[in-house]
Symmetry: C2
Subunit: 339 residues, 2 copies
DNA sequence: AGCGTTTGCACAAACGTTTGGGCAATGTGT
DNA sequence: ACACATTGCCCAAACGTTTGTGCAAACGCT
């Protein structure tokens, strides 16, 4: 029914001008400065004018088929409904667009099988490169992708020695620890996130390390694993508060877990920022908007996305690429300031 | 440097088996049930075995070039860092994957020019169809896309008579109004969101209409426009509270605006859920987690995404498609329950 | 005028598929 | 023995580009 009109082709332009298709191609591709020997500048003008007129747009499938380049990069994220990843992706998209790349993003639910499936899906689509925001320790995925010779970079989380753009999460954890130590909080707990994510592991480690350096060893039962969402934070806090030893301060490795913990504390009769200090991570937009504004570590999410693209581009052009960890900064708010 | 090995092609398989490439193609494409006259079942077996062995994956560019079908749909959203859109997109991606479609999503920042640019970018990529989550009243964009004969559907917001999957936002507004009326709130205000978004307009209208039916006319200065984020909610609330007439209840057309409003109220010495009632919209995950849990209208975001894909598929197969509005439900929480 | 270089374009092959036709060999019915 | 249908496969064209090569005309120089 929809008699879909066919788009203009190079051939059509060539025919209408009595030229050969190759000439048209060269003119339209060469730099608009007439330097080349592709055609006389008069012919070039005519070609460009007509192309404009007909609204010519190259068929990307033909181009990619011929050139073996897609200008496409696949992006795998755990889930875009996680605002952190959404921001990272915005940075990716922005930088990619600036370089004439298209991105296509897929949710993997932080699930190994989906991850695997999406990755091969992307490979099947013949992407030029891949960006993984969902790295997890202990899968062979990246080694396998590396074997396929398609360039890729990790972002947000690192794993193994693969090229990655991350935040210096270890430092982030230290920053929180230093802040807590300055305020004199010695009895502290950590909501540590999942062990498969380097972000969680490094943040917790940074925090614990700094305390140890200060001569305070945080007992094992005050460091509890969790998921990244509010429910996870709530459960973890429950575990901690039930333990009998009620800490002065809690460091949650992300904002959502912190919010969950805060809710749990309230249920136990502890007001955040008054009876108990809480700090989160990522400085999500709501952190500042909460009734008791949340102390959090600001991470350069957007920037990480952009850097990941730059790194991938370097890889694509055959250069080597070195992993980078971008510095976080601590934003102190009321939730961690006990009187 | 990267001597990128070439992937297996049909030709390679054919050669290795002494067959013609067309035979291989037919076998690999035909339904795996051997019904056809493509090849003897013995040959078919050999072909499939070898294809498997070599890890053959069809080159999508060649396929699309030949078939004029990409199995690609472009998705335009204002921004994925808006959790509502992220959820809608997850629904889209899920349903698309089930039907063998790939999606690629682009942020438009709710900016007309970016929107236009991304749309033509998608069209240039020769997508089979488009899904717009960022419809805004008053641009010719959709009429122009319609003229290009590429099927498309709107989701979340509707505009003009174009096919759309939305939430019944008008009803959502009514639900809140009914709840407020039941509680006896007669002096109310609306944080109405931006006028270019049908979601905002319909929700506010539904609310105002229901009040009018109850014989209460909400004065114009108690209905104030805003953006969708916390800052916008805060500013709008400021305007309202400065007006001298402090309302008993505020309806904000989305959760973030509601949170901002709540913060502003606090600054004015009004505790949400005690001194002032507040309701939001979308029932974002945090709504339930806030220190004072937020009353909100739950919208089927995921489902809308899925439905949008289904509708697009109908369109793609040449059938007609009717717009649908999915029903919302009210979730009452403490923020709207004054004693 | 003659020679070499540059300019301006055309030719054709290739990228990896899909698909309408064709044609020989085999099978079926009389 | 015949006609005729079916099976099993091959041929070739087409999709819209890009790009190495070839070749005539125009130009510069002595």
């Amino acid at each position: 029914m929809a008699g879909r009109a066919r788009p203009t082709t190079l051939q059509a332009i060539a025919d209408q001008l009595g030229l050969h298709v190759s000439t048209v191609s060269r003119v339209l591709n060469g730099p608009s400065g007439e330097g080349g020997r592709a055609a006389s500048s008069r012919t070039a003008q005519r070609i460009r004018a007509l192309a404009d007129d007909l609204g010519y747009r190259p068929n990307p499938y033909a181009t990619s088929l011929r050139t073996r380049r897609s200008n496409l990069v696949g992006v795998l994220v755990p889930r875009l409904s996680d605002i952190v990843l959404a921001y990272v992706y915005e940075g990716i998209e922005e930088a990619a667009a600036e370089h004439g790349l298209s991105t296509f993003v897929m949710n993997t639910q932080d699930d190994e099988r989906t991850q695997e499936a999406r990755a091969t899906m992307a490979l099947d689509r013949r992407v030029d490169g891949l960006i993984f925001a969902d790295g997890r320790e202990g899968t062979g995925l990246f080694d396998r992708v590396a074997a396929r010779e398609t360039p890729f970079v990790l972002v947000n989380r690192h794993v193994g020695g693969h090229p990655a753009i991350t935040c210096d999460d270890h430092l982030g954890g230290r920053l929180v620890a230093e802040h807590f130590l300055e305020r004199g909080y010695e009895n502290v707990a950590v909501i540590a996130g999942p062990s498969y994510a380097s972000t969680a592991v490094d943040r917790a480690a940074g925090f614990v390390d700094r305390y140890r350096e200060a001569g305070i060893v945080i007992p094992d039962d005050m460091v509890v694993e969790s998921t990244f969402d509010t429910a996870g934070g709530r459960r973890a806090a429950e575990t901690i508060l039930r333990g009998g030893n009620v800490p002065t301060a809690i460091f949650a490795v992300n904002d959502f877990a912190a919010i969950g913990a805060s809710g749990c504390a309230r249920d136990h009769g502890l007001l955040t920022g008054t009876d108990i200090a809480i700090a989160g991570f990522n400085d999500t937009p709501l952190a500042a908007e909460l009734p008791v504004p949340l102390t959090s570590v600001r991470t350069p999410m957007h920037e990480m996305g952009r850097e990941a693209v730059e790194m991938l581009l370097r890889l694509l052009s055959g250069k080597a690429a070195e992993s980078r960890r971008l510095p976080p900064t601590l934003v102190v708010r009321k939730s961690s300031l006990l009187a």
